[in-house]
Symmetry: D2
C-alpha cells in the first residue's frame, strides 16, 4: 500500500500505476537520495527533533541499503512509486520505528529537488572532465601536424589558406567557451554553496525555500541549454570531419578503430562515430525542448508534470558525455593526408586576398582588380602565380614583379602576421599557450 | 568479428562500440525483421536466385529464432551491432551456408527501413484503437450526465452556459480529427500497399527505390507530427480536468483509482494522471523536434545519423498510447459534482449574450445596453435576473417583461437552437450520432 | 474607444495596447475577412435576421472598403485592435446603422477562425503550385543531362555509381510526397467543404460548432508540420547542392544568376541561395515549435494566447514558398561539369558491389572476397579493373576473365536492371512517366 | 551593381535577390555598424594604413549618414544587400575615394559579428532594466498586501496556507535568478572587454580570430536560451494570474487598464495581457529552436545560412521586453480581493500538515492519523477545527485540547518559523531585504 494512503480506499489502476511510475528511471538518483537523507537525519538530531540513537540507526540502515543497491541486491518495487519511497520503506523494513521519523520536516518535493541538484552537480563535473579531455586530444593532434597548410572555407568555398594547427586550435578555443558556459550554469543555477553550508552546519530548514524551491526548474533548463549548445557545436565538428573524410576532400583518414564498414559495399570505410556525433545532437536539442514545453504555462509550486524533468536530463547528459568521448577518440585516431592536401591546395585561388593586400590601394579598387585577375585565371585554367607580369599589368599597371612574393599558398600564409591570425608565429604561440594551460608536460624529448 | 570486416585490420574501440551500437533499442524490431527476411527469401527463391531447399532452411531457421526471442532464450550480442546482424548471424550459426545467401540484393539500409515501416504500421493501429477507446469512454460519460449545465469559458472567464454533454462531445469530435490525421499519416507516408503487393508477388527489387528509399524519413516525421498534435491536444484535456478537480472549480472528483496522495499533506487528493498527460506531451514534442533536427541538412542517401530515428519514435508511440489509455481511464473514473456546479452557475452573468439576442436590435447597440446592465449588476452585486424592469428600462426602454424568459442559465440554454449549438435537442442528436457511430449497442435497458 | 467598452471605465495602458495589438499582422487577412462577412450578411438576410436592403448596404460598403485597402487608401487603426474591428468600424463609418447588425450571431473567435482557415486554404494552393514548379525544373534538368554517371553516396562515402537522372528523379519523387502530405493536410484539417456548403446555402449557424470550433488549432499544427517536413527536405537538397558546388566535389557550377561573391575574397562564387534554403528550414521548424508550445496546456475554448497563432503561419508559408521558388530557380541555373565528374569517377571503387554480384556465390562470402580485392587495390593504389586476373585469383579462384565486363562504372551501371534501379532503361521509363504526369508537352523538336 | 561584382557577368534573379536580402531586418544594426566603422577607421589610421585626413573624412561622413538614418532621410537599397554595404556605398557616394579604404583588413563576416555582438550587449542591458522594474512592481505589490493569507497549491490542489507576500517574494526571487542567468550570458558569451580594449587601443587585428570568430554563434544561442528560460518562467506567472482572475478563484481583479472585453459577451473582463505573456513565451522558444536548428551540422567558418541568426534574436528580445513590461504593469494594476480570499480559505484542509507537526510522533504515523482525521472531515463536510476532541481521540488518543491552537489557517501560518518559510517574521525580513536591495527609498511616510 502507498505511504500516503490514509484517506484512500481504493488503489490506483494498473494503467495509472504504469503511467505514473518513476522508479524505472529515478532509481539512478539513489546515491544522492541517501546522501540527502544522511544530512537530513543529522540535522534533525542536531536540532533535537530526533534522538542520536535514532539517527545512528538511520545512518547505519542507509549504509546497508546503499551497499545492497551497489551490489545489485536491492529489490526495487513499482508499488513503492519512486526512489525516495523505495529507500524509505526499505529502511523501515530494516530498522523499524526510527525510519518513520526521517520524513519529518521535508516533503518529497524538497527531497527530489535536492537529489536532482546533487546529481546534476556530479554530471557537470563529468562533462567538464570530458571537455578538457577533448581539448588535450586536439592540442596533441595539432602538435603532430606542424606546418600543414589546408584550405580555409566560407560557404564551403575555398577562401584563404590556413595552418591546420590554427584550425585545430579554433576547436580548442570553442570548446573552452563550452566549458565556461557549463561552469556558469553550475554557478547561477545550482545553489551548490547552500548545499555545502547546509551540510557543514548539519542543518536544513523545514520548507526552507517553500514556493520558489519546489516549483523552479530553471537550473535544469540552464543545464540542458548548455548541453544543447555543446551538442550543436559538436555536430559542426562532426560535419567537418565527415566532409574531410570523404573521397572528394580526402584530407583525413580515420583509423579502423573509429570507422565501420558496409554490409553490402566491401570497399566502404565510414566515419560513423562522427556522423553519430552530428546526429545525436538532435536528441540533446529534443531533450531541451521537452523541458521547455514541460514547464510552459504550469501554475506555481509542484505539479506532477514535473516528474518528467528527469529523463531528458539523464538522456542529455549521457549523450553529451558520449559525444565528447567519441570526438576525443576520433581526434586520437585520424591521420591527415599530407600529400593529398598539398596536391589539392593550388585550386581555388586561396591567395587572392593576399594579392589584394599586396596592391596597397583602396580596398574596393583592389578587390575589383583581383576579381578581374581571377576571371583571367578561370578563362586560362591556371593559378594566379601562373599569370605573366604583362597579363597582370594589362589588367592594371599597379602590378610589379615583387607580386610573385605574395602568390601561392606558402607565400600567402607567410603574409599573415596580425594577432590571432593563421601566421606561423602566431599559431606557434597559441599552441604553446594551450600546452601550458592544459598542463601537457611534454618532457625533454620535445 | 564484424560482418563487414573484410578490409579492416583493427576492431573499433570500446567507446565507439558503445556509442554507435543500436542493438539495445532496435531489437524491438525483431518481429518485423523476421517478417521481412521471410518475404525476401521467398522472393529470391521465386526469382531463381536461391534454391527452394535453401529457402526452406531459412524459413525454418527464422521460425526457430523467433521462438527463441519470444521465449527470452535469444542472446543479443552488442558486437553483432544491430537486430539485423544479430538475427542473420544467429541464422548462420543455426543453418550454416544457406544463411549467407539471404543478404543477396538487399542492404541493411533497405532492411531497416522495411522493418521500421512495418513497425510503424502496427504502432498506428495500436494508437487508432486507443483513440476509439477514449471516444467510447467520453460518450459513455456524456450519457451518464444528461441535462447537467456547466459554465462555458473563454479566456478562463465565464462566457455562456453549456451542457456538459456538449462539452464532452466536443472532446469526442476533436479526438476524431486526431484519428483522421493519424490515418492520413498512414496513407501518405507509409507505402503499405507496396509492402503487401511485394509480399503477394513474392518479389522485391534489389535496390528497388535506391536513393529515395534509403534516405527519406518523411514518413517518420509525419508520424511524429501526428503524435505531437495528439499529445498537445491531450495536454489541453489534462489542463481542463486538473482545473475542474481543483477546490476552486470543484466540478469533478476523480475516484481513488485515478488519484494519488501526498507524502506530507494527508488531506491531498491529486489528479496526477491528468497532470502527467499534460506533462508527457512535452516529450512527444521533444521527440518530433529531435527527428527534425536530425534530418536537417543531411546530404542524400543513408548517413549513420539516421540510426537515431528509432528511439524517438519508440518513445513517442509508447507515450501517446499511455496518454490515451490513461485519459480514457480517467474519464471512466470521475464524478461530476452536480450540486456544486449548480450552486456555482449564477456567478459570471452567463446569460448576458442571450439577453443581447433578446433585444433584437443591431448587435453593436445591444452589446452596449447589455454591457451597462452587467455593470449595474456588478455594482449591486446581483444577477441580471435580479434587476427590476424599471432598472432595466432606466438603461434602455427597449426592455419588456418577457425579458425574464431569457434570463438565468436554464433559460439561456433553451434559447440555443442552431445547428451544432449547445441546445438540448441539438446535443441529444449529436450524442445519438456518436452512439451509433461507435457501435455502442446499449440494449433494451436504455 | 473599444467596441466592447460598455462596462469599462478606463482604457488600457499604452504598453498593454502595444503588446496585445494584432492589427500589424492580421490585416493581411482582410480579403478573407470581407469574404466571410459577405457570406454572413447574405445568410442573415436569408434567415430573416436582417433586411435585404441592409444586406445590400453592407455588401456595397464591403466592396468599397476592399478597394480602399487594395488601393492603399485604407487607414488601419491600432485602437481598433484587429482586422475584424477595423473593417467593421470602417463599415459603420461608411454606411451607419446597418453595419451594427453584421455582428449578429457570430463572435470574433468564429470570425478569425473562418478568415484564417480561408487564408490557409489559399496558402496551400500557393505551395502546391510551387512544388509542381520545382518538379518541372528538376525533370527539365534531368532531360538535359542524359547518360551522365555520378557517384552515389552513403555516409558521404562513395557507394555505387548512379545516373544523375536517377538522382534528380529521386528529388522529384520526394517532392511528390510533400505534395501529397500537404494535400492531406488540406483534407483532414481544413473543413473546406463545410465552408463551401455554407456559402452555397447562404447559411452559417450561429455558434455552429461552439466549443470545438473556437479552441481547436489542429489544422494549423498540421499545416505547420507539413511545412516543416517540406523545409527539412529542402534543407537536404540545399546541403547536397552546396557540396556539389564546392571545389572538392566540383560537380556543378551555378550560373551568376544564382550565386553571389565575397566582399573580401574576389575569387569566391558562393551558392548562397541553396545555403539559405538549408538555413531557412530552421525558421519553419521554429514556427512549428512555437505553435506546439503555444497550444500546450491551454484550457478549452478561446484564450487570448491563441492570437499568437498567425504570425508563425504567415512566416512559415512565406518562407516555404521562397525556398521552393529559389530551389526551382537554382535547378534552372546550374551546369553539371561532365568532364570533371568523369575524371572523378574512378576513385572510390564504385564497382565493388557489382563485382560481388558477379561472383554469384553466397553474399557473405563474396562480400569478403571483394573486400580483400579492394584492400589489394588500396595497397597498390589502383582500381579494381587494374588488377590482373592472377591477382584476383590469388584472392579466390572463382574469378574468370569475364569479370572485366563487370568492372568500371559504365559496366556497373549497365548491370542494374531491377525495377526502380539506376539502370538506363529503368531511368528512361521513370523520366517519361514524369514528363507525362507533369504534362511537359515537348513537341516535335525534342 | 554589387560591390563584389568583379568576376560576375550577370546579376542575380529577382527571386534570389528577394530571398537572400537581409536589409529589411539588418538595418536595425545601423548604429552599431557605424560605431564599428568609426573604431576601424581610427585603428587603420593609427596603424598607418590610412591617412589621418582620410580617417577624418570617413568619421564626418559616418556622422552625416547616422543623422540621415535617424532623421528618416536615408534611402535603404535592396540592391546593396545589407546594412554594411548600404552604409559603405552611401559613404562612397558622399565622400568618394577615402570610403573605399574603409574595408581594408576586415570582411563582412567580421563586421556583422561585431555589430551583432554590440547590439546584443545593448539588448541585454534593456532586458536587465525590465527585470529590475518587474521586481520593483512585485515588491511594491507585496508591501500593499501585508498579512493577506492565501492558499498554497501543489498539483493545483490546496496544500498549505501562505502569506501572499511570501508568494510575491518567490516571484521576485525567481526573477533575480533570471537576471543572474542573463548576466552570465553577457559574461561568458560576449567578449565585451575585448571590444572595449580594442576601441581604447584604436586597434583591431585583421582576421583577428579568423576561424573561430566568424563561425561561432554560441553567444547567440546562450542569449536565446536565457531568453527562453525567462519567457517560460513568465508563462507560469501568466498562468497563475489568469487562474487567480477567474470567477472560480476570484482572488484578484485586474483594473480596466490591463483588461479587455468581449465583442460578443458584454459581461466579460479578460486578463488578456497575462494570457499573451503566457502565449508569447512560445515564440521565444521557437526562436531558440530556430537558432539551434540553423547551426546544427553546419561546416566550419561562415556559411550564408548564418544570415538567419538575426531575426530570431530581434524577435526574441522584443518579445521578452514586452513580456517583462506588461508583467510589471499588470502587477501595478491588480487588486487582491481580501474578502473573497478570506471566505475561501477554510476549504481544502490547509492546516492538515500543521496538525501532523503538532503530533510530534514519527511522521509516517502522524501522516496516517491526520489522513484519517481529514477523511472524517470529508464525510462530515466540516473543517479540522470543527472536529471535537472526542472525535479526534477516537482516531488516536494522542490528541489533546492544545490541538486547537494549531488548527485554522491563521494558527497554521503562525507555526511556520524556519528560515525561508512563510512565517510572518520571516516574510517581513525577506521583504525588507528586497526593499533595501532594490533601493526602494520609501521616505518617512511609511
Amino acid at each position: 500500500t502507498k505511504l500516503w494512503g490514509g484517506r484512500f480506499e481504493e488503489s490506483v489502476t494498473d494503467a495509472v500505476e504504469r503511467f505514473t511510475e518513476s522508479i524505472s528511471f529515478d532509481k539512478q538518483l539513489y546515491k544522492h537520495d541517501i546522501m540527502g537523507s544522511r544530512a537530513h537525519a543529522s540535522m534533525l538530531a542536531h536540532q533535537g527533533l530526533m534522538s542520536c540513537s535514532d539517527r545512528d540507526s538511520i545512518l547505519q540502515g542507509l549504509d546497508e541499503i546503499e551497499s545492497q543497491i551497489e551490489g545489485g541486491n536491492f529489490k526495487w518495487r513499482t508499488d513503492r512509486e519512486d526512489v525516495h519511497m523505495n529507500i524509505e520503506a526499505a529502511l523501515t523494513d530494516l530498522i523499524g520505528e526510527p525510519a518513520k521519523k526521517l520524513h519529518t520536516a521535508r516533503s518529497r518535493n524538497d527531497q527530489v529537488l535536492t537529489d536532482f541538484r546533487l546529481w546534476c552537480r556530479d554530471a557537470i563535473d563529468a562533462i567538464l572532465s570530458r571537455i578538457k579531455h577533448l581539448q588535450v586530444a586536439l592540442v596533441t593532434l595539432a602538435e603532430k601536424n606542424e606546418g600543414l597548410i589546408v584550405p580555409g572555407y566560407t560557404h564551403l568555398q575555398r577562401a584563404q589558406p590556413v595552418l591546420l594547427q590554427h584550425l585545430l586550435l579554433a576547436f580548442v578555443e570553442q570548446v573552452q567557451n563550452l566549458l565556461l558556459a557549463t561552469c556558469s550554469t553550475a554557478g547561477t543555477g545550482l545553489p551548490i554553496d547552500r548545499f555545502m553550508t547546509s551540510k557543514d552546519l548539519g542543518f536544513t530548514a523545514p520548507m526552507s525555500n517553500s514556493i520558489d524551491a519546489v516549483s523552479d526548474r530553471d537550473f535544469v533548463l540552464e543545464f540542458l541549454s548548455a548541453n544543447s549548445i555543446t551538442a550543436i557545436h559538436l555536430s559542426r565538428v562532426g560535419e567537418e570531419w565527415v566532409l574531410w573524410a570523404s573521397e572528394e576532400f580526402g584530407f583525413l583518414t580515420p583509423s579502423d578503430r573509429v570507422s565501420t564498414g558496409s554490409s553490402i559495399m566491401p570497399q566502404k570505410k565510414n566515419p560513423d562515430p562522427m556522423e553519430l556525433v552530428r546526429g545525436k545532437s538532435a536528441r540533446v536539442v529534443g531533450d531541451l525542448v521537452s523541458l521547455l514545453v514541460l514547464c510552459k504555462g504550469l501554475p506555481l509550486a509542484y505539479n506532477r508534470d514535473l516528474q518528467e524533468d528527469k529523463e531528458p536530463v539523464f538522456d542529455s547528459v549521457k549523450t553529451v558525455i558520449g559525444m565528447l568521448e567519441v570526438s576525443a577518440e576520433f581526434a586520437q585516431n585520424i591521420t591527415f593526408n599530407r600529400e593529398r592536401i598539398k596536391a589539392a591546395l593550388p585550386a581555388g585561388h586561396l591567395d587572392a586576398t593576399t594579392l589584394a593586400d599586396y596592391l596597397g590601394i583602396p580596398f574596393r579598387t583592389s578587390h575589383d582588380i583581383v576579381g578581374r585577375s581571377v576571371a583571367l585565371c578561370v578563362s586560362k585554367n591556371c593559378q594566379l602565380q601562373d599569370l605573366s607580369l604583362e597579363e597582370l599589368r594589362s589588367i592594371n599597371p599597379v602590378f610589379d614583379k615583387d607580386v610573385y612574393g605574395f602568390l601561392g599558398v606558402e607565400n600567402a600564409i607567410k603574409k599573415f602576421c596580425s594577432y590571432g591570425s593563421t601566421g606561423a608565429e602566431q599559431v606557434a604561440s597559441q599552441l604553446q599557450y594551450w600546452i601550458n594551460k592544459l598542463n601537457l608536460n611534454r618532457g625533454n624529448d620535445q
